[in-house]
């Protein structure tokens, strides 16, 4: 299976997409295109197999956002630049359950992080934030996402990954585990 990840197109077949989570299915089918092209509140990237180039196997949605500096606790403000903190929001990430276990989630997250780094290099951003389902928080933690404090038992857990950590990762040719 040769997978390509690209921006969502109007002709993409999304109606049969099923990741096992209705809100995530519904977002792709009903809102992703409108949000991307008409009201511009999120850009969706889809994974497709080159042999069936319009069937969506998985997707993620990105947007930019910021943390208002005047709402940050004063004891930390000194260590931060005197502006709102720009960030990338990884709003959604899902893989069709018929294609799970083939590394698509890794490929999608990898692309999301590559885009984050490009945005950071082009216009500047400080971190990537995601809203993880509690049972998926461990998967994001493997990539270095750190849970932010707050209620996390039933609602999605906000998780943080510093762009400087992502950039540092690009300087490694192999991971420590691979070198052993």
């Amino acid at each position: 299976m040769a997978v390509t990840i690209r921006r969502l197109e109007e002709s993409d077949e999304v109606e049969n997409f099923d990741c096992g989570d209705e809100p995530l299915n519904n977002y792709l089918k009903r809102h992703a295109w409108t949000n991307q092209e008409k009201i511009s509140i999120g850009v969706t990237y889809v994974a497709i197999d080159d042999s069936a180039p319009y069937t969506v196997l998985g997707y993620f949605t990105l947007a930019t956002s910021s943390v208002p500096r005047d709402r940050l606790p004063k004891k930390y403000v000194r260590g931060l630049p005197p502006y709102d903190l720009p960030l990338i929001l990884l709003a959604r990430l899902a893989v069709d359950k018929r294609f799970s276990g083939r590394g698509l989630g890794h490929a999608l997250l990898s692309e999301a992080l590559q885009i984050t780094l490009r945005v950071a290099d082009e216009v500047g951003c400080r971190c990537i934030i995601t809203d993880a389902y509690p049972d998926k928080a461990g998967w994001y933690a493997r990539y270095g996402f750190v849970p932010l404090e707050g209620p996390a038992t039933t609602s999605p857990q906000k998780m943080f990954l510093d762009v400087r950590t992502i950039r540092r990762a690009t300087s490694f040719e192999s991971s420590p585990a691979e070198r052993e």
């Binding site: 002709s11 511009s40 509140i41 999120g42 850009v43 990105l62 947007a63 930019t64 956002s65 910021s66 943390v67 709402r71 940050l72 606790p73 930390y76 403000v77 260590g79 931060l80 903190l85 990338i88 929001l89 709003a91 890794h106 997250l109 990898s110 992080l113 590559q114 885009i115 780094l117 490009r118 945005v119 082009e122 400080r126 971190c127 934030i129 493997r142 990539y143 270095g144 750190v146 932010l148 404090e149 707050g150 209620p151 906000k158 943080f160 990954l161 510093d162 400087r164 950590t165 992502i166 540092r168 990762a169 690009t170 490694f172 040719e173 192999s174 991971s175 420590p176 585990a177 691979e178």
Partner: protein, 137 residues
């Protein structure tokens, strides 16, 4: 005749300054035999006789393609059966916007703001193995 009238008459008869004619520039290209042949075939197909017309039309087409990619639009062809092919032309990709992401507001709790401020103001963590693998091209 009063002098004032005489001066007015002088101004009225003065010729307007002639606008400079824009210089035409020459365009010369060294083409490989295959490219030269391609130009001849295309000129014949398009029923063009002059190289100037050929270059002018090619320029108009190229200019349009550049302006579309600059706006982030993709250029594609569609067959009569609906099969689509997207044009990927490396030089055009240089003018395409890298990434355009919209801005959204996030609802933050005070605890989350404290947590993110602490993380962002501290030293960045070392990348994990999975992150290193994810960032490898």
């Amino acid at each position: 005749m009063p002098p004032a009238v005489k001066e007015k008459s002088k101004k009225a008869t003065a010729l307007p300054a002639k606008a400079p004619t824009p210089r035409k520039s020459k365009f010369q290209a060294d083409l490989a035999p295959s490219e030269d042949s391609m130009v001849r075939v295309l000129k014949a197909e398009l029923q063009m006789s002059s190289n100037t017309d050929f270059l002018s039309d090619a320029l108009a087409l190229f200019r349009w393609a550049v302006s579309e990619r600059k706006r982030g639009h993709r250029i594609l062809s569609e067959s009569s059966t609906g099969e689509r092919k997207i044009l990927i032309f490396p030089r055009l990709e240089r003018v395409a916007p890298e990434v355009t992401l919209p801005h959204v507001d996030i609802r933050w709790t005070d605890k989350e703001l404290g947590s993110i401020a602490e993380l962002a103001s501290g030293q960045p963590a070392d990348p994990t193995d999975a992150l290193i693998r994810a960032m490898r091209r």
